[in-house]
């Protein structure tokens, strides 16, 4: 870290120092006060729904009638359902295809947009953010048209130049995943870019200057300056993206429409269908609870990996 000048601020005059308020006390008091809004609002609005969702896992309920306690039956039923396992598989595959490359590309994009050598930065920034802002209805139609089954669809046309026969994007096992993954990638890469960009902006330019003078090339600059300093932000994006990809819902919903085909159904789509289409809230909850634990496990794994990678530098 470069050296920073200590900041001098005006001391408020006339305030007697209370021994009662030790430094630790001051810290703690302020801290509890500052974090309390979250916990207050959370306990009013979120605790009941969360408990309710978990409680439902042991019940049989169609949303309208009375609930019937069934113990672990719901869990058994969904673990016996091949569709459930398929949805887990789909989620992971689409996450790897759509989210993982996205983080790398977003990082590179942010680095490019942060560099002093590039002009039109604002134009690029807003362009890359537009996918996240464009109406999902429009996006669905555009991607649906791109990835249409017929041989006149744009992607199929491009493939035909490489002598590849047209793919049924809407029903094919890998076609569907590629289509959904590209939609996810397209929609979220700009989002992660501006997050990395914000992080990079707090890294002083002098560090890069000094490194350049020492003869460091681009890769070395990134490895020894950007990555370590950006670590908290990278951890943030890894965490948020992991959760986001494991909870993938909107893109497959919009691409699959009502068909909810097994080639593209994700875990959340599975539980959504279970609850709101099939009206089987008990099993939907069981799926949600399972998903919750999967998320905990994988987020922890991902964070450990990201941490380890950061430390090894």
């Amino acid at each position: 870290m470069a050296d920073y000048q200590p900041v001098r601020t005006k001391v408020k005059s006339g305030k007697p120092k209370k021994r009662f308020m030790s430094e630790e006390r001051k810290d703690a008091l302020a801290a509890y006060l500052y974090i309390s809004p979250f916990f207050i609002i959370f306990s009013v609005f979120s605790i009941f729904p969360i408990f309710f969702s978990f409680y439902l896992g042991l019940q049989r309920w169609n949303g309208l009638g009375s609930m019937e306690y069934v113990g672990l039956r719901n869990f058994r039923l969904i673990y016996e359902d091949p569709m459930f396992w398929k949805s887990i598989y789909n989620t992971f595959v689409i996450a790897l295809m759509g989210t993982l490359p996205q983080l790398f590309v977003a990082f590179l994009l942010a680095f490019a947009l942060n560099s002093t050598l590039i002009k039109f930065k604002n134009f690029f920034r807003i362009s890359f953010f537009m996918p996240n802002v464009t109406s999902i209805v429009a996006v669905a139609i555009v991607f649906g048209t791109l990835f249409t089954n017929s041989e006149t669809g744009l992607v199929n046309l491009v493939l035909s130049y490489f002598n590849i026969s047209p793919i049924n994007w809407g029903t094919n096992e890998w076609g569907l995943k590629v289509a959904i993954a590209s939609m996810v990638f397209w929609r979220w890469v700009g989002y992660n870019t501006i997050i990395y960009l914000a992080g990079m902006q707090s890294i002083p330019n002098e560090l890069y200057e000094a490194a350049k003078i020492d003869g460091a090339n681009l890769r070395q600059q990134i490895t020894y300056i950007t990555l370590p300093l950006l670590k908290p932000v990278i951890i943030f994006t890894v965490f948020v993206s992991t959760i986001g990809s494991l909870q993938l819902f909107t893109e497959p919903l919009v691409f699959l429409g009502r068909t909810m085909r097994e080639e593209g159904i994700t875990m959340v789509l599975y539980l959504y269908r279970e609850a709101f289409v099939n009206n089987a809230f008990g099993t939907a909850s069981a799926a949600a609870i399972t998903l919750f634990f999967i998320i905990i496990v994988f987020t922890t794994i991902n964070l450990l990996i990201a941490n380890r990678l950061g430390n090894s530098k």
Partner: protein, 284 residues
Amino acid sequence: MDNAQQKTKARKNLFSKILTYLLLFSGAFLSLFPFYWMFVIATNPNHVVNRLPPAMIPGDHLVINFLNVLSNINFFGAMFNSFIVSTAITFSVLFLSSLAGYAFAKLKFKGKNVLFVFILVTMMIPPQLGLIPSYLIITKLGWISDLRAIIVPGMVSAFGIFWMRQYIKEAIPDELIEAAKIDGCSRFRIYWMIVIPLILPAFATLGIITYMNVWNDFMWPLIILKDESVHTIQVALRLLNDAYVRDYGMIMSGTFWATIPLVIIFLIFNKFFIDSLTKGAVKS
């Protein structure tokens, strides 16, 4: 470096510059295309949405389609509602999240790690099943068709707190805080005078993201805001969907104009926050 070496270096630089620009421009094109297409459909009659290959040229229905939108829904009223909700929530989230993030990043207190992990864990719970019980809570509070039902639950976000904590950890060195404490600053003053100026990019980013998420959210407002006078813009736009038939020219027109404020917000945040930070130099 002699002349020849300098020349090859310059050529290499130029080459990488061109390559970079090429990639950036193609990326920008791919990112903007659907939005542009949306505008094309918004200015054309309905059947143009079916064109294959996709229509590329804006048509002459710009005004007609928008007038259709206006006659079907209270467009500006809904925009205003969205504006209130998004602005209120964004202000609140920025302020409360940065405060809490600051606490987690820089203050010492008992249970800090446990509480922080708790906040992280709340982000992992799939929200879909909470819809019915949440609706129940709002009904008990008597807040159906009341914008408060949208604003109050959204005032703090785990995402925001996490983001601010990470950013503050990265951007604010401990020594700075220590020095300020030695000088006798209160915790809040430290937050206000030192932390905030240094995390303006974080504010900008979180601000844009929050504003956009709230503006685009429709699942929750849909269930809560029954009365048309309190509809936010996304809910109102969905009214344009007829039972079996859709006029896409009209729908895209409404959607397009409803997106323009987001673009403006992005530009504002971009200008006032991201660029206001002179890179890395800490003001004395």
